[in-house]
């Protein structure tokens, strides 16, 4: 009888103890594993392989919390700009016919150097740095 009770108590302590240790170790272990996006502020993103992009086309990518437009020009070179129109924060698009960047909201145009050339945009688009290493495209901020 007494033996039973001691056994029960030990089982209880064992289960509780192991459970408690597990519930401390598991979160800590998970915490220490680095999450998928490694850093709190994005300074560069990978944009995939060159051949994903046709000449004279563009794609909107997420650069952290900022949309970025990556353009492959006729020459095959890449340019990247902030895709947020400097007028009222609409998202810009690439016009294949005139080879300009267009904001459809109020017909604002930027040239392929990001300069505001017509319409309401008050400022040029911020440019991003595009580097191609082994056919892989990396977009990064100009400063870093």
């Amino acid at each position: 009888m007494k033996q039973d009770r001691r056994g029960f108590l030990n089982t209880l302590l064992g289960i509780g103890g192991i459970g408690a240790i597990a519930s401390i170790i598991y979160p800590v272990f998970e915490f220490l594993l680095p999450p998928e996006s490694r850093e709190p502020t994005v300074s560069s993103i990978k944009a995939g392989a060159i051949d994903q992009y046709e000449v004279n086309s563009a794609k909107i990518l997420k650069f952290g919390r900022e949309p970025v437009i990556l353009i492959r020009k006729d020459s095959g070179e890449f340019s990247a700009f902030s895709a947020t129109c400097t007028h009222l924060d609409c998202i810009v698009q690439y016009r294949q016919d005139t080879k300009q960047i267009l904001c459809a909201c109020h017909n604002g145009h930027y040239d392929l150097k990001g300069r505001n050339v017509s319409g309401p945009p008050p400022k040029p688009l911020t440019e991003f740095k595009v580097s191609v290493i082994n056919n892989e495209i990396t977009i990064s901020t100009m400063e870093g």
């Binding site: 108590l9 209880l12 302590l13 289960i15 509780g16 103890g17 192991i18 459970g19 408690a20 597990a22 519930s23 997420k62 952290g64 919390r65 949309p67 947020t84 009222l88 924060d89 609409c90 998202i91 459809a104 909201c105 109020h106 017909n107 319409g119 309401p120 008050p122």
Partner: protein
């Protein structure tokens, strides 16, 4: 004798200044010689009213003789201001455009100073109401000097200039705000007052945004004239491109021109154009639709429906923005919601432009597209907020383990407490 010494001294100093000092000071000389007109008139305090040494002509070395004729080299005033040297004195008002045009209409001459400057100002001027009236012998209308001044002319990009965008409305108002003068032409004189309260006037005069239109941007500069009925939407359309294009293709545009209504102006006004608000659409108090449409007609129903849609999209966008703020405050993941909300904002902005198509199908489609996007964003936000509170669920297990352990320890204490006491 004394005079000669003084002049020699001035000549000497003038030369030294010309060699050593910055270009503004060089203006005291005329092609490395002393401008005797200036020297003498300054000495005798006879410089013309409003004279400025910063005047662009003066600083470029085009002295008084450039406009008034005469000689700047001759020291004797009788000789200097004689018809022998082509002295004309103060030009007649009707001759002023030609006087300026002497140089300003001469491409070859102007190119020496400003290679890109236009040279059609005089011909444009005579196309304007001002120019036409002047030709007819009206001496009260504006000539070149009315806007540019006579003796303190500065280039348009100089903030001190009377025609610098920020100063221009005031310059026009000089005459157009004069009710007595305007009365003789049967014109109103409250344009400046109206303009300065308008969205354009506030942007220019209060926010100092020089890309906002001043008077000349709609009326033209030298060819100043009121835009006619046909061209009013073109004038607005030079900046408001999409709105104009949509409107021109709309049914309403045809109806307007048949009825002799002025495109944009009919709803937005002209000098006093207010910042547009969503309340202008619909059938509410501030609606511009109900100026023509009465309850029961098709236009009224359309206005009711479009106003409702626009309002719905705006309300849901505002609501989603509030929820997003809550998500940020809770430290939850807001990046995707932020992206989704950008699209909603874009839809809203586009819808406001789309209204100018006056096409129910397009407007409702655009609004619904935005509403769907907003609902998606809200769904994402709700998930994040739910997640914030739902974290507790995973904690059932951990708490259970700790409670079991605590209970075990408690039993152990009770068991061992039987053995305690004594000193």
């Amino acid at each position: 004798m004394k005079n000669i010494i003084r002049r020699a001294y001035v000549l000497f100093v003038g030369t030294v200044i010309f060699i050593n000092l910055p270009s503004t000071v060089r203006a005291y000389t005329l092609q490395d010689k002393v401008d005797n007109c200036f020297v003498c008139h300054q000495e005798n305090e006879m410089l013309p009213e409003g004279f400025s040494e910063n005047d662009i002509h003066f600083t470029s070395g085009i002295g008084c003789v450039g406009c008034h004729g005469g000689s700047a080299i001759e020291e004797d005033e009788e000789i200097a201001m004689s018809s022998k040297f082509g002295f004309i004195g103060v030009p007649d008002k009707k001759d002023i455009p030609a006087t300026c045009g002497k140089c300003h209409s001469d491409i070859e001459f102007m190119r020496q100073y400003r290679p890109r400057i236009a040279t059609d100002q005089v011909s444009q001027y005579f196309e304007s109401v001002h120019g036409k009236k002047l030709k007819q012998g009206d001496n009260k209308v504006a000539d070149c000097t009315s806007c540019h001044s006579a003796h303190s002319i500065l280039p348009v990009d100089d903030p001190r200039s009377s025609v610098y965008p920020l100063n221009l409305p005031e310059t026009c108002n000089h005459c157009h705000g004069n009710s007595d003068l305007m009365y003789t032409y049967k014109l109103k004189s409250n344009q400046y007052e109206e303009y300065s309260k308008s969205v354009h006037g506030v942007a220019l005069l209060e926010h100092r945004d020089i890309s906002a239109p001043a008077c000349n941007d709609c009326h033209g500069n030298h060819g100043a004239t009121p835009p006619g009925i046909q061209s009013i939407s073109h004038v607005c359309g030079t900046c408001h491109v999409n709105n104009q294009q949509y409107f021109e293709k709309s049914n309403l545009s045809t109806i307007f021109s048949e009825a002799g209504f002025h495109g944009c102006e009919e709803c937005h006004g002209y000098h006093s154009i207010p910042k547009p608000s969503d309340d202008m659409l619909g059938v509410g108090e501030k609606s511009v639709c109900i100026k023509c449409h009465d309850s029961g007609d098709v236009g009224y129903d359309a206005a009711l429906s479009w106003g409702g849609k626009l309002n719905e999209l705006r309300t849901i966008h505002e609501h989603a923005a509030e929820v997003l703020a809550e998500v940020v405050k809770k430290g939850m993941n807001d990046v995707d919601i932020d992206f989704a909300l950008k699209d909603v904002n874009q839809s809203l902005i586009q819808l406001r432009t789309f209204v100018h198509t006056f096409d129910s199908k397009l407007i409702v489609e655009k609004a619904d597209e935005g509403i769907v996007l907003a609902n998606n964003a809200l769904e994402l936000a709700d998930k994040e907020i739910e997640e914030y509170y739902n974290r507790r669920i995973g904690f059932g297990f951990a708490t259970l383990a700790f409670v079991i352990l605590a209970f075990g320890v408690y039993l152990k204490i009770r068991k061992s407490s039987n053995v305690k006491h004594e000193s």
